[in-house]
Structures are given as structure tokens and as C-alpha cells.
Symmetry: C3
Subunit: 654 residues, 3 copies
């Protein structure tokens, strides 16, 4: 368990730096991230680098025994660069250019900007790449934030056409794959293809999807170009990018492939996230001060997979923030709890944002570990407590590696894009569906891996696929070879790779192992809720329901009151023909876990547990104190069996 | 009763065509519409026509005994045309140009595009105009759909100025008619007049109205130009355009005048329409799977008038669609019911959209009579049933012509435009008011004609005018000559043709037959609902209420609790000084019908009846089974007196 | 008590003018405002003035004994001017130019337009400046209406850069004051600084604030340029501008300084205002026909300060209007009541909008004192009644000057801008908070002055500061010298003049008199409402809450249930650490008033009282009749002690 912090020396008088370094170290923090927005100070005028201040900051921090993470400053090109190359500014979907004056004001497809980025990153890497205290580098900052991917610029258009040529080889093949005969959308050449904005009605969904795939590749390539420079000059450092929670604009699996990152780092703001995502208002109300119990864990488990087992929290909420519709103060204990929660899910490092609240500019209402007057904030005091606890307890300071879970949940970025492009009903959201399944498993006390469908899943006893748009032969082969129980949710196998309905009808290739066909689908207004029972439990479908036909030996395990099948199975494979109300998802997964030989329990409301090494951690996000389900003879290394709101404990099973 | 279907040979392998034709004919379908989006296949490159595939498609279908409706392809100009003439792309109200990539991406005022359309239509008409199996031609597709009228292009501006010059003769006359002295809006010349977009606050309402009148004329002229070509080359075919439901952007009466169409065809999607229009949420919930009982009938009755008695359903919903906020599967029976309903209202042909669900592109989630795997869909099976029933029953296959109703409801397009331009309260919508009156009459078991105020109304016993902005002398003359009962709703006679308040106050010229004046009007937030009684029934005004004064011999039949008159009358003319809650509209129309000697009944909830020839049809849109109000000795030619949800029956009164 | 009316001779035939003048005078009206939208008639073509019609109008009105207010016509530049100088059109935040076709279509920063305005105003002032019947001049009309300030034009950019240079002297100083090191936002020169629109995420709040300060100065300077001309040519007239209610886009205190106005005139539309502002829906429902009891009074009291004691209502609602989401007819009596209410608050003149409803153009649904058919409207009849009452009663016709109140509420424009720029929670609105405090004081029967924090406050016994972003030393000095009770609300002292958090934490300099610090703040979703008691009264915080620490001798008077302090005090200074539910604000102010030796009472719901001279007026905005709290031996000069809805009475305490 290692603690870090984000620090911006350029924002404070040099006279404060030494004291800051000393106090950071004394607090028990080992890692400090710096520099990722400081381009205007690194290069005040075109080509004139000014490293002296950064040299001093690095030495001051290193001198206090701290390890450093250096950020490349490309998320905020300075004004002189924009004035020299105005085409670096990105273009909105309505054709307007964005302005300078905040951050992320660059077109990711601009070759001018790519060149400028490599220039500054190379200079920075040459100077600091082999510094012994610099243990990691971060590229840019939160790629895609503020909806800055995509850009609709001329540069994006040209590169999109090139990308399409590479993917489709001939324009005839593209017209065929896209079905452009529909509405006479056929293109005479790749040069004739435009971006899919400003169409009077829906653009072709595959046009939109290929544009999203292209933009996802652009993001990955933008990062990769910096990585190639950093690998050369900083050969021993961990290279990473700080991803965001619940963020799906690019495919993180593809981004991470071929060692583009050494560790998956992400920025965790659980309370603002809870307020921002599509949760029922009742849940937003209940968890306003603790954050939803699964909102951080969901991304911990996802980024652990993206980092091939290694993940950091690069920015951790340290108190109230400034960017959600409402920004409450976290309940007492949460700032500490989130650190333990991240560690329990396998984090190597939890780095708080930020050392001291900046009293000016855009983030002045964003808290840090210190108040603007330089006293520890309430969150800072909680971090101090956690640091002391960890230092005092060997079982906590040297955790074992997290074990592979027995349960996998498949999350797929392209599915998110396809169902955003084609929600069909305005309340359908794929990630929300995945989250609902994930929450159900966590309420059953299970540890979960969130994984890509393209990895080897043979070690899992239960594989849950809340939905996956395209089911290819490789996945069906995995199922056939697998011993696991498999659960597929609605819309699974409903599309081909070219965004069309499979010729055999959905669920497409899944029919090889589960003979059935989806005849019709429907989206449901909130007042339309087909009822059903599963094992005596009553519930309804919401958002989405399918009319399916069981073929061959497929069995109907549960049906809607109107007799349409609700759950179908053959052998170890289940299919759920609708988005079921939450309690039914839990019942269903309980059955599947039982069939997989996995023991479950029903945790108290707001309670979550997670195992790491030989420890079991418990976290109370609920409004009431609860007893944790520890064995009677468990040894507590942190806290005890009675857990108050916002508290955490950990025990060893004897 | 004839059945049709929409078919897109260009979207399927040629190897499927013959089987498709055979199966279409075997299903009992007689008419097939083709070609209306196929420009890129008819003319793959500028000037190079490729008719061979269309020749084969036509011959294949005709060879199976099918009659054809050919669509001109002008709703989707191909990419080479847009690249050659980029000014064909329309301009949005904010000044941005729309892009290629979907459909309807053309500026209806572009003279370039008009020329290109005539070129392709002429070529097509010359080739197919006299083909014996081609019984009808459709121009373009759903003119105005996706809010593509108006366009704010330079071409539209020039033509608008010309239109204004023709209407107003001198700019002084225009300044006077528009009242441009207000806010110094006077124009020095016609060339100085702009389009009414991007004004810091409201544009002059008559500026907006004249622009809407102009755009309505542009749509009609665009269609007319094609009709002139088609008449020449296809002299015996029925010429038509496929209109839309609840669509009021252009004046369909003016569009249809001077034989611009032979039959009014329209596209009927009852469930998506129910979800999309301004109905109370309670009704949207209740009728989510059956559609609102009057939502199709309303347009059947409207288009029957627009077609001077002849109307077709060119596209009929055949299952779930893709474009409403939510898209449920219709209740069992509805796909069949809608056909009978259309026939009962006088349709000659009901043509389903579409033969087979297209697995790719924008409408892949739009159902058809066949699933993408080419088996009949649930809707297809219902059509099969209907076709067999009709074939088996002479009384159904050879229906009499629909008789003129005894009740007329006046619908007026300019009133819709004026009250959209000047809602005055954000929940006031004219068409919704008309629909509320129409629904009341239908709940009373009455057949209704929806008509223009400009036709001869002398044959009706009851004329209901839910509102009409401008009451001219011609209409008052009709009232004076008429024997009918007349009911006028609020805002009637509230405007002059130049969008001003009449100098004698509203209801303007109506005062000649009903002396009264509207002193003040008010729009009502949902919490403000002045109460009243009519004949002991309690209710409220919603949306709109007027403070009126009865003059001369005018009698106050009902008043609000605050003593303002609610219903006024003199002799056969009634005026309703507010938008009353629904049950009061029904009570009021019941009284008026009684005074007109028309017998009414209160149908069970969700039940509707409609007479054609010697048959009475009954339709159950409600959640409960009901007994239809057939005489005890009626002869049923379809179904029986107990009607389940989604079912239809028909009987002869003996 | 003098009555006025707005009249537009150019909109009516000359044959009506003499009769209009006669009827206006007969009604008891003494003042008529004319000409403020008539540029196209004053100067029909560039440089060709046509004064003859205006001469006649002036003489006709003056001949009837009426006094005139002349408006400069610069709110509506005519089309020939726009055609000659298209750059006069303003630019929206998205970069689009607004069009001609309504009003306020000018860029306030356009130097071309400034020159044109001075040209027309000079010509007008030369001709009419010394006319004996013209007693006042109004510049432009409702500056800033329709969100027409700001403009994002090139002209605005250039002038903004100049303004910044003047304020900040060097770009280094600006970069420092703005904290531009954050996100590398540093500017190399003043010329490099842009407008704060179209940034991918939030612009720097101080960038936004300085732009608002600049735009506020632009508005004041635009007005001042006209005033300089008018002072020269109309040396004896009252010069004014007609402000709007609840309008805060520019700083009215700065606008009015250095005699830029002689009297503060404002346009009062209480019912539309009630519907438009951020009131709870329950209040909008309750007061839909009477307007909220404080919505007019709030601005009467504010503009009385802005006018240094002199204020007029330049436009008073005379019946239903046309621009709110819904527009009900006022309850009987309100049009009369509003005049008395304005007088009670100190108005010299109440001028109704408008003489006669205009039957055409944008405001045809806006009522006047006459209907379009020239009979007195219901509102006109109420004005007639009021005029007769006043004429018949010396105590009413010659009211004393309004006395300074014992209670002051501080309202600060920059605070509004800062908290709009940084709401932090989407339901936080500063003016709404001020209004809530004001309402509480008025419910306690108190007369209130609304004042700037920069004036001498030493004469007040109670000073209420619902919030003020920046607390400077001058204000603390006032507190120290003052004998008054002071109440500060949340966010007070939370910012520096450069939009940063004070280095000593909020409430900044207030700590000199009230030692305490705000550690953390939070915004509250509607479901999150920390509870507390004050003096046994239960309530909650809404929208905003602070975690504060009492330092030194500061006493915690009340605390939240979770133990955070809610009300703190030391001596005469109180601080409220949250936005409390309304009844708690009232309890708190009741305590503060008691401590200040001010007697309070709890008025019946909807009842308000206000003293002027030796009269006390009472107004009933509530749904029930109430008895007014007059002494038993009071002498009523208007009405009596039992007050119906919409009625007013006035008495002398004996």
C-alpha cells in the first residue's frame, strides 16, 4: 500500500517548496506527480525551454526522499503555440472551432500538434528520463475529457479517409459493408466520404461506428507517439496515462495493447461520479455522501484488467469537488476508506488529488489534502490516519497480490459505442446495465474481474456477459471449451462487426451453443413494465425486452406473464431476454453462482467485502452500522466487526 | 380492401427477387411500392443512367401479377450530385449547412436541385410512364420530414423576396400589412427583407407567418414540378405523394389543389405517433401497445378530405419501429386491426412498410412483414390472416364507398402555424385541441369528416371548429346559410389574415352571427385551472381561457365559477371561451349533437366504431374485453360481439 | 402620486391623436412617454430627418396639458443603417451574428454604432431639448434585454483588450492576478487575450468576471455618451433610463454614478416576473394572479437606492402580458394595487404600459389601458378608479417623502456575477437568496432599504447581508464603527477581488470582527438537507452549507444536527453558515431585529404593509380576506381594515 499526491510547484512560491516536500514525506506519502499542465512554464516562448524551475522542484522533492511521476504537458498547449498554429484548435460537431482559455483545446488529429507534442516531450524526456527519483511518466492528462474526442476538423476528415481506406481497401467494399445502397448513400471514392456530423437525420450507424473506432485509434496513437519517445529516454520508468471513471470514448483494451502502458492509472472521484451517472435518483440520494458502494470498485476491477494486473489510482478524491451538478462534502471516513478499498481491489498506489487546494482559477473549489491556508484539510487528516495505520501494521503495508477472481464480468467498449449510436429507447445504456449486474454480484459478496471477451476466460467458474453486441466464433469457441457457467444478457449477439443484424437473427453465433432466436425487441417507457417471476421472486423488465423463440433443446427457465420467455438455457449457458429489475438480476446470478459451485451471501445494505492476499476487507457505505460477516475466530488487522458508516475493517480468516 | 407493401429490390440480391414476388402475391398483396430511394443506383454517375436492374425488378414483380407504385428518388440525392453542386445542401436556422450522409439533405428552394430533379424524373417517367403494371407514382418521400422545411439558404431568401413581391406588390404595402412601424422594422425595398431567423428576440409574427406560407408553397411547387412531368408521361397512373401523420408544416389542402394528387396517401405509424405527440402521459401509458384509439383515425379522416374522398395508407406500421423515444412491440392483433380500421375509414389500399426488415443502415431496427432471416414476422402473420379473411368474405373484399358523415370537424393549417408562432402559453397547441374535440366525438360513437373551412359545409348537421384563427366573410356566409349546429372553440376569429387582432376584437366576423367580444385572454400554468360546470358536470379550463362579453341576444349557456362566461350561444352557433377539460368537451358536443338531431352513445373505454357502406366496424384499443353495441339481430361478417384487446369485428345492421 | 402612460403616436392614424391626448388627460394621467422605438420614422433614410410628425405628436399631447418623456430610439436601428454597416449586428457566444428583424440587434461595443447613436440623439436633442412640456428623456430601452449583453464581436474583443490594459497595466500583472499559470493559460500580450467563449471546459472564472465587468462598463458608457449630449441640449429635464426587474447583467450602482441619471426608472411586470424567476412552484401557483407579494417591492426598494431616493415606474403592467411561459389575467384589483404599492415605496410616478394594445406585430398580445377597439380595458378601468381616488384625497395626492428605513439589505451586482460564474451547485442563485431574506423581513412587517455595501450604512439599526463575495476593509471598518446588528449569509467574504479564495480562508476580512473560518463548503441536491433547530424551530439547509470553525470569542448560536455550527456570532455580528429553509431565515431575522430594538410582527399570509410619510399602506396578495394590523383608532384615507384579495388600504396612525 503506497500513497501518493498530485503537486503543482509552478502554482506556488518557491519558498514553499521545501516545506511542502518535507510535510508530504512526513505524512507518509511516497509518490508525487508533477508537471502535467506546465507547458507555458517549461517553454515560455516557442523553442525557448526554461527547465531551471523544474530542475529545482524535482531536486527538492527527490531530496525529501519522494519518488516522482512526471506528466507530459500536452493537455494544455500554451497561447503562443495556438497563435502560431490556429488549426490546432479542435472543431465541434456544429462546425465551430473551440477557443483557447481552458484546457484540452487541441485537435487530436492535427499533425501540426502531434509534431509539437513530440518536440516538447522529447526535450522533457531527454532532460529527466534517467533521473533516479522519477519512477513513472504520465502522458497528457485524461484524454478525451470534456468531450474533446471527437474533433470534426479538416485534419480529422483526411485521416479518417485514410483510416477507412486501410480498413476497407476499396470504396466498393466499404459501400457494401456499410449498406450504402440504403438511401442512396453510396460513395464514389474514399475522398468523397465525410464526417458523420450535421446530417438532417441519423447518419448510417456503421458510419458513426467506424468514426468512433477511428477516433479511438487516434487517441491511442497520440499516446503511443509519446510512449515511443519516453521508452527511449526513460527506459526503466513505468509509463502510464491517467484514465477516467465510467469513461468509454476510446477502447482502453486496444489503447493498452503492445505495452503502451506499464500500469493502468485512473482518476477516482466517487461522489461526483455517483451524482453524474445514470443511477436512479433514490440511489443518488442514499449515497450522496458515501458514493455508491460499487462506483469505485467497478473501475478498480476494470482498470486492473486493462493494466494486466497492475493499476494505480492516479487522482483520488480528497474532499468535496467542483464539477458535479451538486458537490457535497464526503461523509466522515470516506477519504480514508477509498484508499483501503483501492488497495483491496489490487491497487499498488493511491495518489490523492491534490496536495493543497489552489485558491485561484478553474479548480479553486476543488479540495486537496491541505486548505488554501496550508493546514491539513479534513481529508488530509484522514489520509494521515490511514498512513499511520498502514505504517503500523505489516499485514497492511505488505499486501499480497490480488488473486484472480472466480467470477468474470465481460465489458466491451464497442458494445458501448454501438448501443449509444443506437439506443433504440432513450433510457437504454449499456454500461449502466453492466453496472447493474456488477452491483448484483458484489451484493452477493463476490470478488469480480472485469475483462475483455478477447482474453482467455477458461479459469473462471462463472462468466457474466451483461451484453455484447458482436459474438464472434472465438467467443463461442471459448464457451464450448469452458467449464464455466455463462450468463448472457439482452442484445447479446445482436450485431455483426459491420453494425448489421446477423442473418440468422440475434443472438447470432451464440446459437451454436444455445439454440434460440430473437424475433422482435422493444424498448419500454417507464410506465410499461412486463412482469415476471424467477423462482417465486416477482419483478419486471425495464428499458428493454425481447420476444424470443427457444429452438432445439433450449429450455425456458422463466417466462414473462404474457408467456414470452424471460430466461433460457441449455447446459451451462443462460440468456436473459430483457433488462430485469435489479433484484431479479441478483436472484438470477445467485442461481448461476450456485450452479457454478460458488458460495454467495447476501450482504447488508451498503456493505461490501473484498479479499486480497489473506485479508478480507469490509467497507460500510450504508447509513446504518453493520456487523461484518467475518468468521467468529477471525483476526482483525484493522478495525473490528462492527462497522460504522464510512468505516473499514480487515481480517485474516484463520 | 386492397393490401400493398413497400419493397426495395436494390437492397437484396437479385436471386431473391423472384421468390419475394411470389411470396408477396401469395400473401394476398396486390400492390408494391418501389424505387423511391434508389437514385444512386438509377444514375450511378452524373448523366449515366442504369435502368437495367430496375427493368428486371419491375418485370419480376409485374410477372407475379403485382401492381406497382413507382417513387421518384428525389428525397436522397446521391453524393456525386452534392459534390457537383454543394449549394444543394440546405441551411439550418443557425446558418450552418447540413451534410450528406442520411436523407433529405437538399434545399427545396435550390433551383439547381429543382433542375436535377426534373432531369431524373423525366428520364424515369419516359422509361416507365406507360408500363401497364405501374398504376401509380409517388413523388419524393415524406416531404418536410426531419424538420427539413424550412431552409435558410441564400436561394430561399431570393425566392422569398420574390414571393413577397408577388403577394404584397409594393414594399410600402408590405410594411403596412406587417405593421413594420413597430420597433422601426420598416424595409426600404423587397431586397432588404431577410429571413426571420437569428433575431435577438421574437421576429414579427407576420414575418414568420409569411415565411411559413412561402415555404408551404415551395413544397407544393416542388411536388407540382414533378407532377407536370409525370402527367405527361404516365397519363393513366394515379399520382400521389406520401404524407405523414400529425404533420402540418405545409398546407395539404393547397398542396392537393388543381389535381396535384389523384389520391391522398399517408404513412401511418400509430404507436410511435402516440409516443411522440403531446398526449397526457397517462394516455401514453395506457395505449403504449395499441396506440391511442384516435391517432390513426384522425389522419384517415383528414386525408380522405385532402384526397377528395380517395386515400391510401402508403406505409402502415407492421411491428415495432425505431424512431420514437421508446418503441414497444404492438399488442397482438394491432397490425391486422389497423388495416381494417383504415378500410372502415374509407382507404382503398393499405400498404405495409416494409416487405422485409433491412438488417443494415439506419432502419435496421424497423420491422417489416418478414424478419431479416426471411420468415414472416408476427406482423406478417397478422397480415396473412387479414388477407385470408378478406378473400374469404365478399362483404369485406368489396366494400361500399364511405358515406359523407353528418359531423364535420374543421382543421386549418394556417391556424396551426399562427398558434405555433404565437403559442402565448407554452402548453397551447392547436392540433392537440382539435384532436381533443375529435376524440370526444369518436367516444360518442360518431363518424366524422375532417375538412377545410373553405369547402361547402352545407350538408353537415353539426360543424365543429375547435379553433380557427381567421374567420372570413365566406365562412360567416356559410354559417348564415347553414341548417347545422356550429361549435367554435377558443381563439376562433382572433386574427386577421395579416396576423393582427381584428379591429372589432375577436371573434371578428363571427360577431355577425354571434354578438360577443373577447376582452382579455390568458394562458394557464398547470396549477391554474378555473373551474366551471356544464349541465351539472364539473371541470376546468386548461391551457387557455378568455374573458368575454356577451353582446345583444347572445346567451351565456355556462359560466366559470368566477362568473366569466364559458359557453355562449345564439341560435345554432356556440362559442367556447376556453380549452375545457376533456369530459366537458364531450358533454358539450353531446348537447350540440342532440340539438342537431344526431344520436350519440358513450362507447366503452378504448372502443371505437366506424361505418362504411352497410357495415359497422368495431375496434377495441382498450385493456379490457368489451361487448360491441351491435343490434341484437346484427349479422357479423367478421368476428363477434365480444371484442378482446386488439380485436376487430364488423356487422350488418339488418 | 402621479400617473403616466406609454404612447406610440407613430403606430396610429394621426386622426386619433387628439382624441387620445384628450382621453389620457381626462383619465388623470399627467405624463406620456413617446418615441423610443421610432428611429425609422425620425430618419427614414440615412441623414434625412423627418421631424414633422413628431412635432405634431408633441404639440398635440402638450396641448392637452400633458408632460412628455422622450425616448432616444437607439434600441432599434433601422434597416438602412444595418445594411450600410452590417458590423453593427452583434455576435452570439457561438460566433453567429444576430439578424435584423426584431429589436436590440446592435453590438454595444461597435464604434460605428456609437457614432450613429450620437448623431441621431444629437439631432433629436437639438430639436426638442428645450421644449417646455418635455420634462424627461429616456436613453435607449431596457439595456441588456433579451440577453443582448454581452456581444462576442471583434469590436468587443478589441475594446476588452484595451479595458484589460487599463485595469491590469502589464500582461504579467494580469497573468498573476488571473492565476494563468494554472493550465498554462498565460498570455504573452494583451493582444493575445481572447473572449471567454467557446472554451472546451470552464474558462478561468476571473476571465469571465473581468469580461462581465467590462461589459457592464460598456453599457454604462453607451448610456453616458447619450447623457452627455442630452445634458447639453436639455439642461432642465430629468434624464433617465428604464431599467428592468430582477436584472443584473450590469452594475446599476456604477451605471448611476456621477449623475448619469437623475431618477431611476424601471419597468414593472410583476406577474410575468413571478412566473419567470426561480421561485418554488408552490409559490408560482399561489401567486399566479396577484404576483408574489415581494416581487415588485424588491425592485422598488432597490431602484430607490439606485436613484438616490428618486424613482419612477416607467412601464407598469396593465393587464395580461405576452412574454412569460404562461400569461394569466391579473386578479381583479391588482393593476390599481400596483400603483399604490409603488407610491408607498416612494415612487414619484407610475407610468402604465401602454395606452392602447397594439393589434399587430410582436406585442399584440400585450395588454394596455385600452383594448385594440379603443375602449378602456379592465386594467384601464382600475387606473381610472385609482386616479379618481387620488384626485379626491389630499393625503394621497401629496404624499410625504419616504423615510430612510431602519433595516438595510445589501445587494451587490458583482456577487451575482461571481456566483453565476461559479454556482458550484446548480440550484444556487445569489439574487434568489437575497430575495428570500427580503421576503422574510417584509413578512415581519418591516420597511427595508436595499443598498450597496459602499454607501454609508451608519444610520441603520439592522444591516442584512445575505451574501457578499468580497468583503473589503472599508466594509469591516463600517461594521466596526456601526451600532447596528449585522447578519451575514453564506459565501460572504469567500472571494478576493481577483476571484480567488482569501489566503486566510473565508470569510476573509470579516474575521477581524468575527473570528471564524470556513473549512469546506458543499452544495446540496434537493434530497440532501442537513437539519437544524434555531430557538426550537426546526428546519434544514438547502442548496448550500458550510463546515466552519468558530475561533476566539466567537459563539455558536445554533448548530446542525451533525454538530457543524449553523449560526455564529460575536457581539453585533452574526454569520449564517448555510442557505436555511425560509422559516428559519425569518426566525433568525426576528432575533436580529429584536436585538436591534426593532419591533416586528408576523403578517397574515400574502399581506404586506409599507409606510410613507404619515400613512401606512396595506396590500393583500393572498387568497383570503384579512384584517390589517391598523391601530383601533387609525384614520383610513383609503379603504378600510378588511382587505380582500387584490385590495389596498391606507391609514394614518393618530
Amino acid at each position: 500500500m503506497q500513497l501518493g499526491v498530485c503537486y503543482y510547484p509552478e502554482q506556488w512560491p518557491r519558498t514553499m517548496w521545501a516545506d511542502d516536500a518535507k510535510r508530504i514525506a512526513e505524512l507518509g506519502i511516497t509518490h508525487v506527480r508533477i508537471a502535467e499542465f506546465a507547458w507555458s512554464r517549461m517553454e515560455p516562448r516557442a523553442g525557448e525551454f526554461a527547465w531551471e524551475w523544474l530542475d529545482e522542484a524535482v531536486e527538492t522533492l527527490a531530496g525529501a526522499g519522494l519518488k516522482l511521476v512526471l506528466g507530459t504537458p500536452t493537455a494544455s498547449p500554451p497561447k503562443w503555440l495556438i497563435d502560431a498554429y490556429p488549426d490546432v484548435l479542435p472543431v465541434r460537431a456544429d462546425g465551430t472551432r473551440w477557443n483557447f482559455g481552458s484546457r484540452r483545446h487541441y485537435d487530436i488529429s492535427s499533425e501540426t500538434y502531434r509534431r509539437e507534442c513530440l518536440r516538447v516531450v522529447t526535450a522533457m524526456a531527454q532532460r529527466y528520463g534517467r533521473h533516479p527519483s522519477i519512477v513513472a511518466w504520465q502522458t497528457d492528462n485524461e484524454l478525451g475529457c470534456h468531450d474533446t474526442v471527437p474533433s470534426y476538423s479538416p485534419a480529422a476528415l483526411t485521416r479518417f479517409q485514410t483510416w477507412l481506406r486501410r480498413r476497407h481497401e476499396s470504396v466498393e467494399a466499404l459501400n457494401d459493408a456499410w449498406g450504402n445502397v440504403f438511401w442512396s448513400m453510396e460513395y464514389p471514392s474514399f475522398e468523397a466520404i465525410g464526417l458523420p456530423n450535421l446530417t438532417p437525420t441519423d447518419a448510417n450507424p456503421i458510419h458513426l461506428l467506424d468514426f468512433r473506432r477511428f477516433m479511438s485509434d487516434e487517441v491511442a496513437q497520440f499516446h503511443r507517439e509519446q510512449i515511443d519517445v519516453l521508452r527511449e529516454h526513460a527506459p526503466t520508468a513505468d509509463l502510464l496515462h491517467n484514465f477516467m471513471g465510467f469513461f468509454t470514448t476510446f477502447d482502453h483494451y486496444r489503447f493498452a495493447k503492445d505495452n503502451a502502458i506499464d500500469v493502468a492509472a485512473w482518476d477516482s472521484y466517487p461522489i461526483a461520479r455517483t451524482e453524474s451517472i445514470a443511477l436512479p435518483d433514490e440511489q443518488k440520494a442514499r449515497y450522496a455522501r458515501t458514493a455508491h458502494p460499487d462506483v469505485s470498485a467497478f473501475d478498480h476491477d476494470r482498470y486492473r484488467a486493462i493494466g494486466s494486473g497492475r493499476f494505480w489510482v492516479m487522482e483520488q478524491q480528497a474532499g468535496p469537488v467542483n464539477w458535479a451538478p451538486w458537490n457535497p462534502v464526503p461523509a466522515k471516513g470516506m477519504v480514508r476508506l477509498w484508499a483501503y478499498e483501492a488497495f483491496a481491489h489490487g491497487a499498488e498506489l493511491v495518489s490523492y488529488f491534490r496536495w493543497r487546494q489552489c485558491p485561484y482559477a478553474q479548480e479553486q473549489m476543488h479540495s486537496g489534502l491541505n486548505l488554501p491556508n496550508n493546514e491539513l484539510s479534513p481529508g488530509g487528516l484522514e489520509v494521515q490516519q490511514a498512513a499511520r495505520e498502514i505504517a503500523a501494521c505489516a499485514a497492511l503495508s505488505a499486501l499480497g497480490a490480488p488473486a484472480r477472481a472466480t467470477v468474470a464480468v465481460v465489458f466491451d467498449y464497442e458494445t458501448q459505442w454501438m448501443f449509444e449510436i443506437q439506443r433504440h429507447g432513450k433510457t437504454f445504456d449499456y454500461q449502466t446495465l453492466v453496472f447493474d449486474y456488477y452491483e448484483s454480484l458484489r451484493e452477493l459478496g463476490l470478488d469480480v474481474d472485469i475483462v475483455s471477451s478477447r482474453v482467455d476466460l477458461s479459469a473462471y467458474a462463472l462468466v457474466v456477459v451483461p451484453s455484447i453486441a458482436v459474438i464472434d466464433d472465438a467467443l463461442v469457441n471459448q464457451i464450448e471449451r469452458s467449464e464455466a457457467q455463462w450468463v448472457f444478457g439482452p442484445r447479446s449477439g445482436s450485431k455483426t462487426d459491420s453494425f448489421a443484424i446477423p442473418s440468422t437473427l440475434p443472438p447470432g453465433a451464440l446459437q451454436r451453443v444455445l439454440p434460440m432466436q430473437v424475433l422482435e425487441v422493444e424498448t419500454l417507457r417507464p410506465t410499461l413494465a412486463p412482469a415476471l417471476s424467477i423462482d417465486g421472486a416477482r419483478g419486471v423488465a425495464i428499458h428493454w425486452r425481447e420476444h424470443v423463440r427457444a429452438n432445439g433443446e433450449t429450455h425456458v427457465d422463466a417466462q414473462f406473464d404474457d408467456t414470452w420467455p424471460a430466461v433460457l438455457s441449455r447446459g451451462k449457458v443462460r440468456y436473459v431476454a430483457g433488462w430485469l429489475s435489479h433484484a431479479l438480476h441478483r436472484t438470477l446470478l445467485e442461481q448461476a453462482a450456485r450452479d457454478a459451485g460458488i458460495e454467495t451471501q447476501r450482504l447488508a445494505e451498503g456493505l461490501r467485502i473484498r479479499r486480497r492476499g489473506d485479508l478480507t476487507f469490509a467497507f460500510n457505505f450504508g447509513a446504518q452500522s453493520v456487523h461484518v460477516p467475518a468468521p467468529a475466530d477471525a483476526t482483525f488487522v484493522l478495525g473490528n466487526a462492527l462497522l460504522k458508516t464510512g468505516d473499514v475493517c480487515a481480517w485474516k480468516d484463520v
